[in-house]
């Protein structure tokens, strides 16, 4: 439908307006997402008045925090034309190792546990980065393979057992349940990560190089950017953030299992493509993925509240991803056509 509209404008009165609808839309993507979020909230609120209560909003924000932390890393990976399917497994592995450590040493400072998980994730990410950047394996193959390895290692490390709530010291559980100035720790951590990531991608040389590598690897290489190093860095950041998220996850749900977060990578990818990160590489904004993650978080929270069967959620999520990527593709076409029209004159 959108393509038709864009086409009509493009061929019919294109010379007069000089912009296609989809090109215009690209500028207001965030506003559009926000509008969708508001509409969903209003709709759900009418069906179930307990949706927009302070507690529930806090709950949604805390749930979205982990998703959006991971989306930041995934955005960097997708910008470089890659994909990381291993993060569910990396998350489980780092969470499990952190949980087993605090189980054995209950006196451990929670920050040390966070650091430990971060380090485990960082190591996992470095391995994947090495395989992708130095050995030259396709990201999907490398991460698919390592996903199994990390998941297997999680089972090996735990011996198939769970670390459950009563085996974790309270200080560890308070990482996720505690609050700072009245705001949940998870949200604080997520906001700090957004800020750092925003500064990194917009105001540092390396951050801009990530975009350059994604939009055109050959010219990036020729203009002196060390593309391999950038690729390695991106997967390492992804791993580090996943490790951090692993500890937060285990602390929040107060249980570490072998199959923690299995399939969670799909939600993260969904948040990214919803937020307008182009799967073809080279584009993506922090503000977009935050909104994408919030939209998914609200959907996950709202669907059970309006009595949608949990068995429908898989399907709904898949359709959202597909619709978002198709929509992104159509918008991209509009922009390209728009650029072509400008060139003609």
């Amino acid at each position: 439908m959108f393509a038709d509209a864009a086409l009509a404008v493009g061929t019919g009165q294109g010379a007069a307006t000089k912009t296609t609808i989809s090109a215009k839309f690209a500028k207001f993507r965030e506003l559009g997402l926000l509008a969708v979020i508001v509409l969903i909230c209003i709709g759900v609120q009418i069906r179930n008045p307990s949706f927009l209560t302070w507690e529930n909003i806090n709950d949604i924000a805390a749930n979205t925090a982990i998703l959006s932390i991971l989306s930041v890393g995934m955005m960097l990976v997708i910008i470089t034309r890659g994909i990381d399917l291993s993060i569910g497994a990396t998350l489980a592995l780092s969470g499990m190792i952190a949980a087993m450590t605090v189980k054995a040493h209950p006196g451990l400072h929670p920050l040390a546990a966070l650091l430990l998980g971060f380090a485990v994730g960082l190591a996992c990410g470095m391995v994947i980065g090495f395989l992708v950047a130095k050995v030259g394996i396709l990201p999907i193959i490398a991460t698919l393979g390592m996903m199994n390895v990390f998941r297997g290692l999680t089972y090996e490390a735990s011996g198939g057992k769970w670390v459950s709530a009563h085996q974790m010291p309270d200080s560890f559980k308070q990482i996720a349940t505690g609050s700072m100035l009245g705001i949940n720790n998870l949200i604080v951590i997520a906001v700090v990560i957004y800020a750092v990531a925003y500064y990194f991608v917009s105001h540092t040389r390396t951050g801009r190089q990530v975009y350059a590598v994604g939009s055109n690897p050959e010219s990036a290489e020729i203009s002196g950017i060390k593309t391999k190093r950038i690729l390695w860095l991106v997967y390492t950041i992804m791993g580090g953030l996943t490790g951090l998220a692993g500890v937060l996850w285990v602390s929040k749900f107060a249980s570490a299992q072998g199959d923690t977060a299995s399939g969670y990578e799909l939600s993260v990818i969904a948040a990214c493509v919803l937020g307008g990160v182009s799967i073809a590489g080279g584009s993506g904004k922090i503000s977009g993925i935050i909104l994408g993650a919030v939209l998914l978080g609200i959907l996950n929270n709202a669907l059970p509240m309006i009595n949608v069967s949990p068995f429908w959620q898989n399907w709904i999520q898949g359709m959202i991803i597909l619709a978002a990527v198709v929509f992104n593709a159509l918008v991209k076409r509009g922009i390209d056509r728009n650029n072509l029209m400008r060139r003609k004159i």
Binding site: I137, M146, N148, G152, E156, I279, A280, N314, L322, V325
Partner: protein, 331 residues
């Protein structure tokens, strides 16, 4: 980088012949057999071997079209979900009183349709890689399976249906014969027909192929549709072997299948590889699993082994392997 010759008829020296990736696979295969025989007394037993072969051959049917897909430099990670969806629809129809023969045909039709949808999306939206398209259809197809069956399982199929997975012709398993027939058909399609040559051409250079009059879109759709159809065939055999079906069957099949294809020397850069390599890899991984299972290696450790094997298989050609079968191109 040397020029890529499409009809790779280099003069084949004796050394070149034995340095092919397929010989490496044969050596690995022998190594696995020798290891297994030494590790367990139960391995070298005809009945055991025969039954083991029957248990890992179900997913081998998807390996055949996946070879085509990877030669096209594409990927399909929705195959496991297609298996689940077509199996669930078949079982659900049968449970609602539809005759099994009809349900069986519907199963094949569903798989074919799923594959066709994949192909159509990939061809219509060229901006999207096959990774993201099949990733989303992977969630959607399994999502439909969950909507239909929720968390139940459906079984109690008619007796003759069990024959697919458990039956023998003489003393040879029926599934092995079926696989051999399909393998020969797909092998001929890939290596002896113009269709197969066009698949190689597209994998090597899609733009040049399009300009030389190859109908790239049509061939891609056909190949993805074939993958859907063969996933449905896998669904038949798997459901027959298990005797019942659930929405979460065949989870992770895509990984096993891709691992087998890549281990078989089919380059993920496209345009390279042979059917025989993938078939060798099917048996290699199958017997490796069986042997490790015999000495009580857990399923979790097997995960690690298969993952590492996949990484190993794609790394080795990139480390300047001097074979003709699988020459890796840095991607």
């Amino acid at each position: 980088m040397e020029p890529r010759v499409l009809t790779s008829k280099k003069p084949l020296t004796l050394k070149g012949f034995f340095l092919q990736w397929e010989w490496m696979l044969v050596l690995l295969f022998i190594a696995v057999i020798v290891m297994n025989v030494n590790l367990s007394d139960y391995f070298w037993d005809y009945n055991n071997l025969r039954d083991a072969t029957m248990s890992f051959l179900d997913k081998a049917f998807i390996v055949l079209p996946m070879v085509f897909i990877i030669i096209l430099a594409d990927i399909d990670i929705s195959v496991g979900s297609i298996v689940a969806l077509s199996s669930v629809i078949m079982a659900d129809l049968y449970a609602h009183g539809v005759p099994m023969e009809l349900a069986l045909i519907v199963c094949l039709a569903v798989g074919t349709l799923c594959g066709y949808i994949n192909g159509l999306l990939i061809v219509k939206f060229k901006e999207l890689s096959s990774v993201i398209v099949t990733l989303s259809t992977m969630i959607i197809y399994r999502g439909i399976a969950y909507i239909l069956l929720k968390d139940q399982s459906v079984g109690k199929f008619p007796k003759w249906f069990n024959y697919l997975g458990w039956g023998y012709v003489g003393s040879i398993p029926f599934i092995l014969i079926a696989f051999a027939v399909f393998a020969v058909l797909f092998g001929i399609l890939l290596h002896k027909t113009t269709f197969g040559r066009k698949v190689y051409a597209i994998g090597s250079n899609p733009t040049a192929s399009r300009y030389s009059g190859v109908q790239v879109d049509r061939i891609k759709i056909i190949v993805f549709t074939l993958a859907g159809l063969m996933s449905a065939v896998t669904a038949l055999f798997l459901t027959s072997r298990m005797g019942s079906t659930r929405p979460n069957i065949a989870t992770g099949y895509e990984l096993d299948v891709i691992a087998m294809v890549v281990l078989g020397g089919i380059s993920t850069a496209g345009g390279k590889g042979r059917m025989i390599g993938a078939i060798l890899a099917v048996f290699l991984i199958g017997y490796l699993r069986y042997g490790l299972g015999l000495i009580n290696i857990s399923a979790q450790t097997l995960l690690i082994v298969i993952g590492l094997l996949l990484i190993f298989a794609v790394s080795v050609p990139k480390l300047k392997w001097k074979g003709t079968g699988a020459k890796g191109k840095a991607v």
